[in-house]
């Protein structure tokens, strides 16, 4: 929009959200963070740069509405059944209906639950209100807004994020940006024009982004275009539901056992202090020149703060064992993350990774993206992102893995610069908006995945066996924003008068399939099923024999979401396919 004064970048995180902004008309303007007013207790508010992505639902009779932010995070320990956490992880959980009020998961009946989309909108609306309060003359809806999503978010999760943003009062022309790309933009912003000297043509950059709830891996190539350096996003990893929160929880569990050995059983209230104390101990012990041990103290809950205090010593070896071996173990490049054992029970709650080893997920990711006959991608540059990497020893673990896999020469150089692990994504998003407007450096990439529609083959049905499934490529890997394509191939007959469903798949690894390619077989794990597409044609449409012949057209919007259309081959009519995010069998 031409009236925009600022570029605004929003990091809607699993555990924390942030808003950064930069003036558009001043090329020398620096990216700033917005202080976000939020409840710190039931009766006090304070402005903080981070908005914890937690929602507290007070009992109906108190007359107060849902509260988000720091107070809600505190309440998550004190009143867990009325607190919503990790709503973002639910957005991409295809086994539940994300429009239904299901959160807090397993809350008692008297709690007025909310849907994952609604909760995401609550955080965004809070940020919009904070902006409008501080910048009444330049309302949010008229600014240039960039919202970040995990690179591993599929088309359906992106669409739900768009829906939440639209309902929160975002401008119609806002854009989505992948978080690891935003982290690299933050680095580019901090380096200024010197980044061209830091990188060489042919370089490959691995962005290793371990957030609170998810791990996001991305490969970005440095290329030459018309004599200038250009960045291109080559590949992104699968959605890995393990992050810093899991690590803090694991450490708290270790500490809890130490307390138990001393005869102290901790109650749930104390376990929050324990998280807090363990996080501080972790950062101290895993710092570059950290001590060998660090006390973890839980103060008494009553007013006797010293008399009620209990304390244990956490050693660096214990933390290394818990976090290093649990989340960053040494492994071979050919190792694959362990799969969840098959279970006959319906999965409840979030599908957390059964293998928490980030190094094994990394090995799989690199192996999936080998090029030029190499068994695996060998990035010479590495960018860390996420609060987890405040602990220097964990960065070292990642680099050690590269040494194991590729030898001493294969350890990537960490992109130097001032680290701002908590805010890099928001800052990078604001910088991206500015660069986009003013023609600065851009990372090209298009879609991170190729997409496929499932086609059930005709032919004899075998009793008890599902019909063989073929996959028709409708969106190639790397399809650019703002482009459309018509899928060649045979017409598909759309039945009128009843809802039509298409199973829908995506692949982060099949990078050469073209639209119209029909896959009859694929390797295990190559294709991931996501939410199906559905559409209903009114029976009144002029259909011969109850069906309309159509071809598929796909479009990647400027915003970065995917649209699929069925175009009639006998008339000029088109129908849009919508993601069905209802609970799936």
């Amino acid at each position: 929009m031409s009236t925009a004064t600022y570029s605004i970048g929003i990091d809607l995180g699993t555990t924390n959200s942030a808003l950064a902004f930069v003036a558009l008309d001043d090329p020398s303007a620096r990216v700033q963070l917005l202080d976000i007013p939020q409840h710190v207790t039931a009766t006090s508010t304070e402005a903080r740069p981070l908005l914890p992505s937690f929602t507290y639902l007070p009992p109906e009779d108190t007359g107060s509405t849902a509260l988000v932010g720091l107070f809600a995070r505190t309440q998550s320990a004190d009143v867990p059944t009325r607190t919503i956490a990790a709503a973002k992880s639910w957005l991409c959980h295809t086994r539940v209906d994300r429009h239904q009020p299901i959160l807090p998961w397993n809350a008692p009946a008297d709690v007025h639950k909310r849907s994952p989309v609604e909760v995401s909108a609550l955080y965004l609306r809070h940020l919009v209100a904070a902006w409008n309060q501080q910048f009444p003359d330049t309302p949010f809806a008229h600014q240039h807004v960039t919202l970040t999503v995990p690179a591993s978010f599929d088309a359906s999760a992106r669409d739900l994020t768009r829906e939440a943003a639209a309902s929160a009062g975002f401008p119609g022309d806002f854009v989505l940006l992948e978080e690891p790309q935003a982290a690299l933009y933050a680095w580019l912003a901090a380096r200024g024009d010197t980044w061209r000297k830091d990188l060489r043509v042919g370089d490959l950059i691995l962005v290793c982004d371990v957030g609170g709830g998810t791990t996001d891996l991305t490969l970005i190539a440095v290329r030459e275009q018309d004599g200038d350096l250009e960045l291109a996003r080559l590949a992104v990893g699968n959605h890995i539901l393990v992050g810093g929160d899991n690590m803090d929880l694991a450490l708290a569990f270790t500490a809890q056992h130490l307390f138990k050995d001393k005869g102290h059983d901790l109650d749930p209230w104390q376990s929050v202090s324990l998280w807090h104390a363990c996080r501080a101990a972790k950062e101290s012990l895993l710092a570059a020149d950290g001590p060998a041990s660090h006390p973890v103290t839980i103060l008494g809950r009553g007013s006797r703060v010293i008399g009620g205090a209990i304390s244990v010593d956490l050693t660096r070896d214990q933390v290394q064992a818990t976090l290093g071996d649990g989340f960053f173990p040494a492994c071979a490049l050919s190792d694959k993350p362990a799969k969840r054992p098959a279970s006959g029970f319906k999965q409840l709650g979030l599908p957390y990774e059964s293998d928490t080893a980030i190094t094994r997920h990394l090995a799989r990711f690199l192996s999936d993206h080998g090029d030029d006959g190499q068994p695996a991608a060998r990035p010479p540059r590495l960018l860390f992102n996420g609060g987890v990497f405040k602990a220097a020893a964990l960065k070292q673990r990642v680099r050690d893995s590269f040494r194991t896999w590729f030898g001493d020469d294969g350890v990537p150089a960490v992109l130097a610069g001032e680290e701002d692990l908590d805010f890099a994504v928001a800052r990078g998003a604001a910088f991206y908006g500015q660069a986009k407007r003013q023609g600065g450096v851009r990372i090209r990439g298009g879609t991170a995945r190729a997409y496929y529609i499932g086609i059930e083959t005709a032919g004899l049905a075998v009793p008890g066996a599902p019909r063989p499934l073929h996959a028709l490529c409708v969106v190639p890997h790397g399809m650019e924003e703002g482009t459309a394509t018509s899928v060649p191939g045979e017409e598909i007959g759309l039945v009128v008068g009843e809802p039509v469903h298409f199973r829908f798949f995506s692949s982060a690894t099949r990078t050469t399939d073209r639209p119209g390619d029909l896959l009859t077989r694929w390797a295990d794990g190559e294709l991931e099923e996501t939410d199906p597409l559905e559409m209903s044609l009114a029976a009144a449409e002029n259909a011969e024999g109850g069906y309309v012949p159509v071809t598929i057209e796909t479009r990647i919007t400027e915003l970065g979401t995917l649209e699929l259309w069925c175009a009639s081959t006998v008339s000029a009519e088109k129908w849009k396919l919508e993601f069905s995010v209802r609970e799936q069998e």
């Binding site: 202080d35 009766t43 006090s44 508010t45 304070e46 103290t297 103060l299 006797r304 008399g307």
Partner: protein
């Protein structure tokens, strides 16, 4: 005694007309004497920034609990273990709210030049005061760079509360 007094008043009223008249007069007076002027009302409960600061330091660093607790009977190690946490949290809170920085950037112990007329709010001078404009910096002083206290939205009844009573519903 009150029964004795009652009887003595009873017989005095019977035998002394004058006393009876005065007593009637006295008993007809208003029950509570009207004050000549309205007494100054106590301050309406008000949330001051000082209360909010105490509440914040208590909430985030347990400072009031610590100050209210008697240290007798605890070993230095026990006190030390608790204080480490209280210090960490109170320090982080104060830093966030006030952004405390040294007033003077120079190193402690170095020689410092004073302005022509040093503001006593900025400079505490000792020694041979008034004889020279240089001295040794004994303490660089502190200043705040921010002033961001939480805003209060509670009831009047809660205005003077530093920490609410903590009750777990069972």
């Amino acid at each position: 005694m009150s029964i004795g007094l009652a009887f003595s008043v009873f017989f005095k009223v019977l035998g002394n007309r004058d006393f009876a008249g005065r007593l009637t007069e006295w008993m007809a007076r208003p029950a509570i004497p009207e004050p000549k002027a309205a007494a100054p009302k106590p301050d309406a409960p008000r949330r001051t920034e000082a209360i909010e600061l105490l509440a914040t330091l208590q909430r985030e660093g347990r400072l009031v609990d610590f100050l209210q607790e008697k240290l007798d009977g605890y070993s230095d190690a026990q006190v030390g273990a608790a204080v480490r946490d209280i210090h960490r949290d109170c320090r982080a809170t104060v830093q966030r709210l006030f952004g405390i920085e040294p007033l003077v950037a120079q190193a402690e112990g170095s020689t410092i030049s004073l302005p022509a007329t040093p503001d006593p709010g900025l400079w505490k001078l000792t020694g041979r005061v008034g004889q020279g404009s240089q001295g040794r910096l004994c303490h660089p002083g502190w200043k705040i760079t921010r002033h961001d206290l939480p805003a209060w939205s509670g009831s009047d009844a809660a205005a003077r509360v530093i920490a609410p009573a903590d009750v777990e519903i069972t």
